[in-house]
């Protein structure tokens, strides 16, 4: 066996045993356009639809995998900072600088309710991933985290503890915890038991405002990203820091997990989108998008990455040599 043959042979064995994750390759295409910067991207559980939102005060719904524009939702009176689908995909929540949270009926696209209660811009929103839940969590420049019942249209609870604006929010997929991040450089973990008010845990370690957090689908990891482009991986629920990745040279506003719970995608204002193996810290793929990228999400198997860009474009990165583009076999994540 030649030297090259030996290398290929060993790599094949390592890949087969799962010790090395294969590098991935994607091709990029622009599927549509907002009138201004795209700030939020969210793929539904069934991998059939993606919602985007941005400075143009609209929310757009696009089909997956085709990327056809399905609907444009209007009603917010300031930029829309984030969106999140309900588990069944029949509702969407949005958070805006107009200080409101809005609940939308899908696929009709009608606004179901306007939730008022934050005293400053609403930045993050996240729909409780537990099947059938009507609870929605939000963050705001008013430093609080609020929990809402989207069905009853009421503010259920306010979590207080951050000393500066709260930037983003994520539920654990087992529904037990909420993670919030803040300009105060911390991440706070809260119980979703509405009788408990104080943070269960405060995670320190970031050296800059923490812009986003997200649980893996098995709820065993929490990924966080900050204004310096650093990503941290935390073991949950212990809160132990597993890994620090100096991922980007500019702020990272958004990260997202694939259903394997170890592949993470990050998007940055350094114009790069990167895929990571969080178990090894290895970068699996880098795409120079050529424009700042605010937001990213992916289909369950990471065959399509959806990018929200500062030039208003919504772009797909489609994995090459896969069946993608046509198939959306599994629900998003294994719960």
């Amino acid at each position: 066996m030649t030297r090259n043959g030996l290398v290929v042979f060993l790599a094949a064995i390592l890949a087969a045993t799962g010790m090395v994750q294969a590098q991935r390759n994607y091709s990029m295409r622009t599927i549509g356009q907002h009138a201004d910067e795209v700030l939020g991207v969210f793929v539904n559980n069934a991998n059939t639809m993606v919602a985007t939102c941005g400075l143009d005060e609209t929310i757009k719904l696009w089909s997956l995998p085709d990327g056809a524009l399905l609907k444009t939702l209007t009603g917010h009176t300031a930029q829309v900072n984030n969106v999140s689908f309900s588990t069944d995909g029949n509702s969407l929540v949005s958070g805006s600088s107009d200080l409101t949270i809005r609940i939308w009926d899908l696929p009709s696209g009608k606004q179901k309710s306007v939730l008022r209660g934050h005293s400053a811009e609403v930045i993050g929103v996240y729909w409780d991933p537990v099947e059938g839940s009507h609870l929605v969590a939000s963050t705001s420049f008013d430093k609080t985290v609020k929990l809402w019942d989207a069905d009853l249209g009421i503010e259920v609870k306010t979590y207080r503890g951050h000393s500066m604006q709260t930037n983003n929010i994520a539920y654990s997929y087992d529904g037990k915890y909420l993670a919030s991040c803040s300009d105060d450089r911390t991440i706070m973990i809260w119980s979703t038991d509405i009788r408990k008010k104080d943070a269960l845990m405060v995670l320190h370690g970031h050296q800059a405002p923490v812009l986003t957090v997200l649980y893996s689908f098995d709820s065993k990891y929490l990924a966080s990203a900050d204004q310096n482009g650093v990503i941290k991986i935390w073991s949950m629920p212990s809160g132990e820091l597993v890994r620090t990745i100096n991922a980007h040279t500019e702020l990272v506003q958004d990260v997202s997990f694939a259903e394997d719970n170890k592949t993470l995608v990050s998007a940055s204002l350094d114009k790069k989108v990167k895929l990571w193996n969080i178990e090894t810290g290895e970068c699996l793929f880098t795409q120079d998008v050529g424009v700042e990228v605010w937001s990213v999400d992916l289909t369950s198997n990471a065959e399509i990455l959806v990018l929200g860009c500062a030039d208003g474009s919504v772009r797909f990165l489609v994995e090459q040599n896969s069946q993608t583009g046509r198939s959306t076999p599994n629900s998003k994540g294994a719960r």
């Binding site: 201004d36 910067e37 700030l39 400075l55 009603g75 917010h76 009176t77 300031a78 930029q79 600088s97 107009d98 200080l99 209660g117 005293s119 400053a120 008013d142 430093k143 609080t144 609020k146 929990l147 019942d149 009853l152 249209g153 009421i154 503010e155 259920v156 609870k157 306010t158 509405i194 506003q253 204002l269 700042e292 605010w294 500062a310």
Partner: protein, 252 residues
């Protein structure tokens, strides 16, 4: 037996933590009191929150009263906790109430609270933002009811403006001045023209909502907002800046 139990938590002096402990105990007692009342009135939902100053978002100990959907005052007037602006009150599910801030330091204003008919929640949350009533105070109008470089009202902002007009109507002795700053650096003449256009648009809206035009003046400004200026190029990313709009109290 009143059909609503109102208890306001502890006041007094001492450190914040001590007050929170006292507040928790009184809150607990309040809950027990509510429980004893439940046999007569059914389930009571506890409403908790803070009264916050709109300019600082810091808690304040503002005085307030509670009214039912018929406009009947419920219980005694109360005051948010001196230490941290915390308020707690018990309300009947399936009912709507109005919390009216009645404190000479702040604009008198109504805040609606609807308690849904459900046994799902023993407690719900409600923060109240009050505007300070002091000559010279600048009160931000948020969200800003104009689009970039536009002088007419943005669709969908009417609800918020009606709330402002209603607040002015509830404070008939208060006069205000509308100040609208430019969206971007440029000629002072252009800035003044836009400032006047927007100011007059707002004044017209407020007058149509029933507030005497004599109480509302428009101040023309030819600059961007010195307190909240347009962001520099890097800071502008991810934000859509529109010039600030203020109500300035000119007479109390």
């Amino acid at each position: 037996m009143k059909n609503v139990v109102i208890k306001l938590i502890a006041r007094g002096e001492g450190n914040m933590m001590g007050k929170k402990v006292v507040a928790a105990i009184v809150g607990l007692l309040c809950s027990f009191s509510m429980m004893s009342a439940q046999s007569a009135i059914g389930t009571v939902v506890t409403v908790t929150g803070y009264i916050l100053n709109s300019n600082t978002l810091m808690p304040v100990d503002a005085a307030y009263s509670l009214y039912d959907s018929n406009g009947k005052k419920v219980g005694q007037s109360s005051r948010a906790n001196v230490a941290d602006g915390f308020l707690v009150t018990g309300l009947k599910p399936g009912s709507s109430y109005t919390i009216r801030v009645e404190d000479p330091r702040f604009f008198k204003q109504d805040y609606a609270v609807t308690v849904p008919q459900t046994s799902k929640y023993a407690e719900i949350s409600k923060d109240i933002v009050v505007r300070p009533l002091e000559v010279g105070k600048k009160l931000s109008l948020l969200p800003i009811p104009f689009d970039f470089r536009k002088g007419d009202l943005k669709d969908g902002t009417e609800d918020e403006l009606e709330t402002v007009a209603k607040m002015l109507a509830m404070n008939p002795n208060v006069n205000v001045e509308i100040v609208c700053y430019a969206d971007e650096e440029g000629s002072a003449d252009a800035a003044r023209t836009m400032s006047l256009t927007r100011g007059n648009t707002l004044k017209t809206f407020i007058e149509r909502a029933g507030v005497s035009g004599g109480r509302v003046t428009v101040r023309q400004v030819g600059t961007t907002d010195p307190i909240n200026p347009p962001p520099l190029k890097k800071g502008a990313k991810g934000k859509r800046y529109v010039g600030s709009v203020y109500l300035v109290v000119t007479k109390v």
